[in-house]
Symmetry: C2
Subunit: 428 residues, 2 copies
Amino acid sequence: MARINEHYAKLPASYLFPEIGRRVRAYQAAHPDASVIRLGIGDVTEPLAPAIVEAMHAAVDEMGKRETFRGYGPEQGYDFLIEAIREHDYAARGIAIAADEIFVSDGSKCDSGNIQEIFALAARVAVTDPVYPVYVDSNVMAGRTGPVGADGRYAGLTYLVGNEANGFQPDPPGGPPGEPPGEPPGEPPGEPVDVVYLCSPNNPTGTVATRAQLERWVAWAKASDAVILFDAAYEGYIADPALPHSIFEIEGARDCAIELRSFSKRAGFTGVRCAFMVVPKTVTGTAPDGKRVALHALWSRRHSTKFNGASYVVQRGAAAAYAPAGLAQTREQIAFYMENARLLREGLGAAGFTVFGGVHAPYLWLRTQDGATSWQFFDRLLSEVQIVGTPGAGFGPAGEGYFRLSAFNSRANIDEAIARIRRAFRAR
Amino acid sequence: MARINEHYAKLPASYLFPEIGRRVRAYQAAHPDASVIRLGIGDVTEPLAPAIVEAMHAAVDEMGKRETFRGYGPEQGYDFLIEAIREHDYAARGIAIAADEIFVSDGSKCDSGNIQEIFALAARVAVTDPVYPVYVDSNVMAGRTGPVGADGRYAGLTYLVGNEANGFQPDPPGGPPGEPPGEPPGEPPGEPVDVVYLCSPNNPTGTVATRAQLERWVAWAKASDAVILFDAAYEGYIADPALPHSIFEIEGARDCAIELRSFSKRAGFTGVRCAFMVVPKTVTGTAPDGKRVALHALWSRRHSTKFNGASYVVQRGAAAAYAPAGLAQTREQIAFYMENARLLREGLGAAGFTVFGGVHAPYLWLRTQDGATSWQFFDRLLSEVQIVGTPGAGFGPAGEGYFRLSAFNSRANIDEAIARIRRAFRAR
């Protein structure tokens, strides 16, 4: 009898993006002439930068010649890419990361889904709410939670609510410093957190953590002996030089944090597939016998046992995003998307919306109007102005009443989307 | 307190291939002029076929133009590749597989490491011995076994021994048909198996399962309500048209088997990264309440939650391996490697070795001489004739006394390796 993983049954039958796809297809079938503008899924639209294209062509040619062909590469990634990462993403910001602390992979979705494997099944996991669903779902599938409750929360998971009062950047468990320690609502008091997922610039809210906020997180993690999984997939979109791009810019983070980075949004790699994770050798967890174990050793074992390296051609493309031409070209793409975001912010504001994010991230997070639920707002936006966004409720219970729009599109579509929204919402 | 996954501590400190690398580096440091021939890790050496190179260049160009750029692709893979797989690997052999039963990935190592996630932690897993280590290690890491015993076996895992008597193709648990049902040695009697990993053509032994053998496996799986995970990464090397390439050539396999395939050896993709898995919708497992659940739904959820599709450029390359030119060119590469294997087989035989495999697989499995352990033989081969192979013991306790050589190398190196072996072993 092949017994199955029973935890999958706790997941909702329909996942967020397929449900959006279903509703859009139904609408288009009923309205074949409608010109639908997609600002839902956070997918880039600009072509690969010329320097990256050139590097990938060169790599394909190498693979076609006996003298330069490459078979299995190093599982952690090629030195040429790891050195570029070390130099540009870390050393240039005064952060010392060793080459073997960097693990190149085929994507941050994989990394953020897989990293939970190195923690105990009994480990208590905290997530912000709203949140990127992979953090939650991968822990549900592993069996780290109970069933989902009527409030949309999984038993056994700690939710840290982001709201307008805290600018969608919740404080660590225990509340802001100086206040009496509180407990996240709905959780048994005193349940200590082992691991927390943070994402800044944030998906879905587009908000960004300040240095002071990250300092509070690192202080909390060190005081509680917890680990921070810091997802910085959108760091390339930070405009203010005072804002940290890496958790490792914070003193002490090397002892309590792992960082995830991606080329998907930084270099338009959503269809090319490359990312990396930084696991300092100084971050430790606790074995059942109380012994401290380096998470680096665990992840290294996981990575080399279940992964065989990212594609050589892809790694050459990623490295080109750090060379002068590639850097300039990808920065120009990011500036283009962020100008989209600025236009969207202004247009939505003029249409009477309260908007968050969109300054240091390609996402705008808006409050729905007239008390609509986020799915009601989705349906209204689709049927009235033929714009697809993502309902906030899809990112967790605290996302209800909010809506995510992405700035990834052509300027013409962004202009048209703004015009439609301003026409439809102006009078209200 | 960040509690870690305690099961990682059950794994041996040193993994097989890193240990080989360490010994080779030490030898080379001591003998800088030695010309070492590597027949250890099963990595291809021929460059990518011209048709594949051409397709990848075209795809890179598409990615560089706004009109043809592709962002996130379908998580299961692009239709152009899935249709090529359906037609050439299955329909051409009379096997009906639906498009949505095929899941394209970035490699079979990932697939074979990840597939265990959809089964219960309590599920009993059987492996052949010797075995590709990923099947075992990924189950150890998940917590499905106890510690390793003095016999090199993990408690709670069922080992099916391959040996010279059964041609390294062990029968299903319960023994060959017609004989009184036995139990695998060392296991508590009557422990039923939920899931078995099979690999044919086999890594490491290079042997291949016959149709009759696979029929026995399918009959056993159906009778025991077990699931077969069939790894056919080397099917492209099968020479005899009477031998099955797919488990789905066996009547009834659609109800009890999942198949893994890879472009790594079939098209030289070890550094390019592409594979796929076939999960028929008719294979089911059992939930705790006794309900039957399609494994397809579980894997589909796993794949879409933790994976974001294989690289577009890579998928175009894989599809080109099915077009007439790509097919002819990759078949020629396989023929080249198999001629290497034939030469190695003959040369080893002439040097007095008893050799298995190497006819329908790029691996040769030889009995060591003079009762040497497989690591003793490794050291002797390295120091006396400067040839690197893989000690059989690295693949499980039943691999002790055996040694794997791979046929992936230039003809000049294969000829030189044979000459050295014949010189060193002729007189004994």
